[in-house]
Symmetry: C2
Subunit: 107 residues, 2 copies
């Protein structure tokens, strides 16, 4: 596989935020995150890895380090190694994110 359609991977659950993998290699992984209103990925850190969120659709409140900002379509939030980060869908609509992390912690 070398191509995929992120639209086909979209999946929401009333239970919790959904993470759908698009691809992974030794160097990075790439996911779609789908958050209903009220769902969140709580603030956490990754040792030795950079991660970013790209907002495909919707709006949410993003935390990186000690900063919290509301972002919408086209925005990017990224965290350096060991930097706290998270996202909460505090909007009235769905939130869809493209997420990539390097290096890949699963390899």
């Amino acid at each position: 596989m070398a191509f995929t359609d992120s639209n086909r991977h979209r999946h929401f659950s009333p239970e919790k935020m959904q993470k759908l993998n698009l691809f992974e290699t030794d160097q990075m992984f790439c996911d779609i995150y789908c958050l209903r209103p009220g769902q969140a990925q709580h603030v956490h850190t990754h040792a030795g890895a950079t991660k970013f969120y790209y907002v495909i659709e919707g709006e949410g409140r993003f935390t990186v380090g000690d900063r919290r900002v509301r972002l919408g379509a086209g925005a990017v939030a990224w965290s350096e190694p060991d930097e706290p980060h998270g996202v909460a869908n505090d909007s009235d609509g769905d939130l869809v994110l493209l997420v990539a992390m390097a290096p890949n912690p699963n390899r």
Copy 2:
């Protein structure tokens, strides 16, 4: 910086495809590519790095390895280390891509 708006980085040139950096860390870089109709990033390779293109807007013809496919908004094309890849805007409209590569060859 931990946040940016990719929409603000969009820039097209009649001369050639434009690459606009959104951020870079030791682990990865993330750019926006803006291609007018007829512009291209010719097929090339990166030793030891994974790269992906995410189509934000428009359509183009993507090459990875020996495969060539037409992709539109929401699609992802990725290349493993040493795998040939490129993109050509063979459409009638502008093409905007989110591009990430890991590890970062500039660090």
